[in-house]
């Protein structure tokens, strides 16, 4: 045995670090516990998150709160149709120093630890594409010169699903770079009443930084040390393969609905996010349940559905659930003679 499971005390330490962020977040966004867990899992796995929801649900507030809590350098970019790539990545400016004029690179707002790409689908595809290299490789290349982004680097983007005029749907390549796409759900009447009771003008409580850079590195190291058993890795592999309509593992209804399945990046995302989910649950290893819990936010935005499926009213999360339900946890079943 080459690997040792994390000791219970290290798991407890990891959970404690996560709880430090989760509890204040819960106080900022009331009644959004599951969504906050997903965001926290994505951050622990060092992945980017696309938040999709109606206006006023607290998407921007969430990202702002995260920036404060994690004591990270936070930048906000409001995406508009006239935004240019250099407005995000930065560019060369002519500067005069010591009687000489030289082009100097001036970093854009993307050079931060936590970038809020607000209403990302309002920017043109050209500008959206400027994010590709940054999100995947965590660096920016301008005029042939590559500039590394600060670590950690997270992009939390928001988009409004109902305003389609003047928007540009995100290309599949960029969608694939988001670890999760989280649907921000509306809250119930009781939560609304609580907001009205506890907050003046809807202002969230003041937040202070709860985690240092060192502690964040520690959290990441704990997440990385969470064990992924072979059986679960096999389940993830079969799950991603089952999203492809050409695969035998794909269930019949999903096969008719899916045009293109998830990429290998989806499998990596499931594994990494599964580790974070296991830590959040206090486990030293990834379980099948962790993968099931994150399958929809991790896979739904990576599937390209057939137009007929959309006409039938099938949504990507529904198709992912079909695939998850049809994929057995263990490849070979127990004999049917056993109850």
């Amino acid at each position: 045995m080459n690997t040792t499971l994390l000791a219970p005390d290290r798991i407890a330490r990891g959970r404690e670090l996560l709880a430090r962020v989760r509890d204040p977040l819960n106080s900022v966004l009331l009644g959004q516990g599951p969504m906050l867990d997903l965001v926290l899992i994505a951050l622990s796995a060092r992945g980017h998150v696309l938040l999709e929801g109606l206006p006023g649900l607290g998407k921007t507030e969430l990202v702002k709160a995260l920036g404060k809590l994690l004591a990270l350098q936070f930048r906000r970019v409001q995406f508009t149709p006239d935004l240019l790539p250099s407005d995000i990545t930065g560019g060369l400016v002519l500067e005069e120093a010591a009687g000489r004029r030289t082009f100097t690179f001036r970093p854009g707002p993307i050079f931060a630890n936590l970038v809020l790409a607000d209403e990302i689908n309002r920017a043109s595809p050209k500008t959206q594409s400027a994010m590709l290299e940054a999100m995947q490789e965590r660096r920016v290349t301008v005029f042939g010169e590559t500039h590394p982004l600060p670590a950690p680097f997270f992009v939390l983007a928001t988009q409004n699903p109902i305003e389609l005029e003047g928007t540009y749907p995100l290309p599949e390549a960029q969608l694939d770079r988001f670890l999760f796409k989280v649907d921000v759900q509306n809250v119930g009447a009781d939560v609304l009443a609580r907001i009205l009771r506890e907050r003046r003008r809807g202002e969230p409580p003041e937040l202070a930084a709860v985690m240092s850079a060192t502690e964040m590195s520690e959290l990441f190291s704990v997440v990385d040390a969470v064990y992924l058993p072979d059986a679960v890795a096999d389940f993830i592999g079969r799950l991603v393969e089952a999203t492809h309509p050409t695969s035998n593992l794909c269930p019949e209804r999903a096969r008719a609905a899916i045009r293109f399945g998830a990429s290998p990046r989806a499998a990596i995302a499931l594994a990494e996010a599964g580790r974070a989910a296991a830590l959040l649950a206090g486990r030293p290893n990834v379980d099948f349940a962790d993968v099931e819990a994150i399958a929809v936010p991790a896979l739904a935005h990576r599937l390209v559905l057939q137009h007929t499926a959309r006409l039938e009213g099938l949504t990507p999360p529904q198709v992912v659930r079909l695939v998850v339900d049809a994929t057995p946890k263990v490849s070979k079943p127990l004999p049917k003679e056993l109850t």
């Binding site: 679960v232 349940a289 127990l334």
Partner: protein, 461 residues
Amino acid sequence: MNAVATAKLSRLRRRVHGALFLGGFAEATAVILSIAAAYLVGSRLGAWPNVPLHPLWATVLVVPCAIGGWRAWRWALPPMTQAAHLDHRLQLGGLLVSATEADATAWDAALTSRLHAAQARFPRLDLGALLRRVALPAALFAGVCLLPQGTRTKVQGNRSIAQALVDLEVTIELAKQEGVLPEEKLDELGRRTAELQENTHNGREATWADVDELQARLQQERALQQDALAKTAHALRALKESQRNAGPQSKSGAAADQQSQMQELLQHAAAAGLLDKLPPNVDPSRSAKAGDAEAFEQLAQALAEAALQQAQAQQGMPGEANGEALEDLAEVLRGMQGMPGGEGEGDPVAGGDFPGRGGVNRGPGHATLELNENFDGDTSAMQAHKLPPGRVLPQDWEVMQSRRVDPEVAPQRNQGAGGAVAEGAGEAAWQRRLSPSHRAVVRDFFSSKRTANDGSTEGKR
């Protein structure tokens, strides 16, 4: 991995193997029972021979055992897969499956307590499902076993042999009724035939050699009988000739010869079984005395009549017989009786089932009266019934006649080139199937080669 987890995994492995074995065993048993039930139904219906129960049939259990063993070996789950199943089933959160791959010493206590807590969810053998798989075929098999034997005569084994035995039985019965062969011989042959039939019914083997032997013995008895009849006829003729030549004042030497001939006649008649068939008023011992011409004439007449009846009965019996010899013998006997068509004198003998002698067809002489569609009476009882192939006679039926008939050829509708031709449209035709050799001849007849060589046939097409 800790001891508790190892023990649980071993237990699961045993259960998986046991379940696979029992599942294969049950499925194979169900299949075997279904096949056996189907076979029993077939044997009840007479399609297949009956297989008696035998202790060796228990060896059939080797097949389910082998299939169960093969299934347990072929579908055995790898240890990692079993661990994953157990982990998932007991909701251990992946701890067990991780413990089998990595060092989980720090989590031993948690793993042990969760294993104990989840004891109730440990996979169990579903004996009910296993029994349900076998129950229906077993019930079917038991039900078929309990079914009574069918009302049909059960002819099993080699159907040709069984049919030959039935034919033989019918022949023996007919011979008994007609009295053409000695009864003790027929009884012996009948017993042997019944024994072979019983063997066939019980599925034991009966060979054609047995049937051939019986048929040969029957044939031999008939030949002996025929020979005795012929000798009787010749002795009778010789004695009559001798008496005619001697006249009323015969000398003592001639009388002694006649006495000797009479003894010889009586011996042959006894060998042919004719003495038992003489009318009560005919006493052979009185007739045998010399000088009683009236008694002798009466005896000769009775013997000739009995011999003729037996000869004709032999002719009417199925099986091989020397028909010409019997016909000659009948002619000789008719001559001695003076019957019509014969060369001697005497009154026609009444009775018998022959045309002109009170048979069913009651025509004068040999002109038979056919009870065909021109006959006004009810002839339904005389209708011939065709039995299905392989079907033996029902017990309440009686064999009256058996004969060879031409095989039935199923007529086939002539199909047009474009598909089926409408019936009754004037285009439908019926044809018989041609054998390959005939087909070749027809093809040759219509071939272009023949057309080119023989212009005379062109106009006939």
